[in-house]
Subunit: 440 residues, 2 copies
């Protein structure tokens, strides 16, 4: 190796994987890449990569291996297929980085199967990534890596090449911990993606001009990273093909709800979002951008709305939209924090990850921090928003939206959580106490 840098095998040269692999090439690593699509391998060759003629060939002799295929069943094939799998080809004491997003239970099953097949010499790291194709290509991803200390020590070099130095999280808890960390982040992502559509759809049904509504949301306590990110695609209906297809968030939310079921943990908002995404899929919207979900709420392009409202009425209705979204986001924050805590996720890392990534929201960043610190039980401080306050205002908003026949999947599920909290006697407590509904 002229560069002196170790050789890396790589499988999965899709949008993310191609960027990750070519970044490693640019950093001077010999990278031998494989993909089921020969055209992707050719493209990788054109970018300076070493093409592998087979999956096995991509693994042979390389001390590192990065797996960036799309799903757990694909990972299973890559590693363990009797004919084509790499389990018996990976060199002794090599390091295997599983960067695909998979359920933590699946990552743990890989660890067990490696051992059962006599390959616990492999340093295995559970290290899903986040940040999109351009950060993949820049080597500035967020990475959440879990594994044994020895494995993390061995893999650190490659993890650092792929990530932003501030966004490489070495997650305590061993295999599964990285996947869990990504998953609890995706709780917020999955809810906020639909929430952006729900809020913008409601705004359109209320006769609010789309840019006006979007600006109000961005400047308010309703802000989410996802809303701001998806906004242009939603306004321009730029969703064929999708920059982030409905099927992708559907895969992620499926990991959340399936893990929640294994954990016997309720995730009412994630589950509500999943059902709406599945309905979109039945209508054939799978390949569309996930911002196309706005059309679940309104049958016309939101950009077509020309407001005829008075300034006073505009202001009142903008408040309806932002408050609805804000109060929903509090419940989203509670669901994510409660689930993270249930899974023994490192809460400091979790918070730091979210506020710098796609799951961020004004409510998570502020009230989420309070929820993580622990909620003081008892009557809210003067000036604090209480559960009773929210029930009152949110009920009125939901009713007015209902009079316009607007679906509000998330907001009604959120209101239900507030009502349960109220019935359990927490009405006079701060809104953050909603998290207790998830606790025992």
């Amino acid at each position: 190796m002229a560069s002196g840098k170790p050789a890396i095998g790589f499988v999965g040269l899709g949008a993310m994987g191609f960027g990750m692999a070519t970044n490693l090439v640019r950093q001077g690593y010999p990278v031998k890449g494989y993909d089921v699509f020969p055209a992707s391998v050719e493209r990788f060759k054109g970018a300076g990569g070493i093409p592998a003629a087979s999956l096995k060939e991509s693994a042979e002799g390389n001390p590192y291996y990065v797996c960036m295929v799309a799903s757990a069943p694909q990972v299973q094939e890559v590693l363990f297929n009797e004919q084509t799998g790499i389990i018996n080809v990976l060199p002794k004491n090599s390091t295997f980085l599983l960067c695909s997003t998979v359920p933590s239970a699946y990552a743990q099953s890989v660890e067990k199967e490696l051992k059962a097949r006599g390959r616990d010499d492999i340093f295995f790291i559970d290290s899903p990534v986040s940040g999109g194709a351009s950060r993949a290509a820049d080597g500035t991803l967020s990475i959440m890596a879990g594994g044994s200390d020895a494995a993390l020590e061995n893999g650190k070099l490659i993890l650092q090449e792929m990530s932003d130095p501030k966004k490489l999280y070495l997650v305590p808890g061993g295999i599964g911990a990285g996947s869990n960390m990504k998953m609890v982040h995706q709780v917020l992502a999955a809810i906020h993606i639909l929430g952006a559509s729900e809020a913008m759809g409601l705004a359109a049904r209320l006769g609010l001009e789309a840019h006006t509504a979007a600006d109000a949301i961005i400047k308010s306590d309703a802000w989410t990273w996802m809303h701001e990110n998806r906004l242009n695609r939603m306004l321009e209906e730029d969703w064929n093909p999708g920059a982030s297809a409905l099927t992708i968030i559907l895969k992620d939310v499926g990991i959340i709800t399936s893990t929640a079921r294994l954990q016997k943990f309720p995730t009412p908002l994630s589950s509500t979002a999943e059902q709406v995404y599945l309905t979109g899929l039945v209508y054939g919207w799978g390949p569309k951008d996930d911002s196309a979900m706005v059309r679940m709420y309104t049958s016309e392009p939101i950009i077509k709305v020309n407001s005829t409202l008075s300034p006073e009425e505009t202001s009142r209705r903008l408040r309806m939209v932002t408050k609805l979204m804000q109060y929903t986001n509090i419940v989203a924050a509670a669901e994510a924090v409660a689930f993270a805590r249930h899974l023994n996720v490192d809460m400091t890392q979790f918070y730091d990850l979210v506020i710098n990534a796609a799951g961020g929201s004004k409510m998570f960043n502020t009230l989420g921090a309070t929820m993580i610190k622990g909620i003081p039980i008892g009557v809210a401080a003067t000036g604090d928003l209480t559960v009773d306050d929210i029930v009152k205002e949110l009920s009125d908003i939901v009713q007015e939206a209902r009079d316009l026949y607007t679906p509000l999947n998330l907001a009604t599920a959120a209101l239900n959580q507030y009502l349960v909290a109220q019935r359990r006697g927490w009405g006079k407590e701060a809104a953050t106490s909603i998290i207790r509904a998830w606790e025992i």
Copy 2:
């Protein structure tokens, strides 16, 4: 009056009202009918009714008045419109039967407004009906009538003419009690209508032949009146126009959720059903039969499925469908019983009404009875289905459906309730203990 029977004014000659009014004509009453559609008045005249040239004319001089318009805003116009309303035309001490389905809070507002306008001489009865157009025409409706003892005494004659003798419920509690009784019945109706679509949609996605699945449901613990009633329309896609339009159940479920919000009472399953109905409305399905909702779950007609499954696999999948529906129906029963109890509805009447009407289900009829009697707290009796049992089986079913990308709005909302019950420590208790999730 040759017949010796008292004269009746009548407004609202739609599908239900026309049947009710012509039944009264056939019983020998002089009935003066009005409708905003002149063609309906003409048709009523053809059936022996007395046409009224105006709303006011329909009321003048008649000791009884029946109002069967579609909604609370229409009732408000009928009674209180400054120009055309009948408030000052109704004879002194006449009896006004409000048979429209309205929120109980609205019925109570009518009582107040009559008093405020100096018309508390009117014997006012809050008496919504149920049973469909053919029973309306036969005079065998279910009627839930509330009001003062004097009003009920005065109105009984007419109520009896319109109802099946066994299905006339004189509901204690005054004005609003009749509307509440109908509403808590509709909790079951609204959930079971969507539940029929969800179960048949899942069956199709599982590759089960539609008639086979329907027969299994009807013979099992999953039976609901609504599934059996909607089945043929669903199989034949006979839903343009709808025998029971989506907009009708949407109105009813809106009364449930708006009343629940006023009461600060959570209704997660009704609310979930409402959101799915609203999504159907966005797609323009409002005038279709509500059984068209099955197409939210599968993109092809369910009748087109030709099973290629082995007998064993058929049997396993039929069990998935029936158990999913049964476990959802237990939560539906709990939501209805809990809400009825919260509203101080007479529980004996409520049970009797439901089991003989469209809200009936095997689970309500059996476990609902236990819930009404009161749940013994503590470990379930041997052989009883526990919350833990249901979480285990329902989680597996939901996961398998998810692997097929089938939405399951109600079942996942129901599973959430079971998970909450489990987390609250009721896992070893009988399934009926799920009702405690609604209690304080």
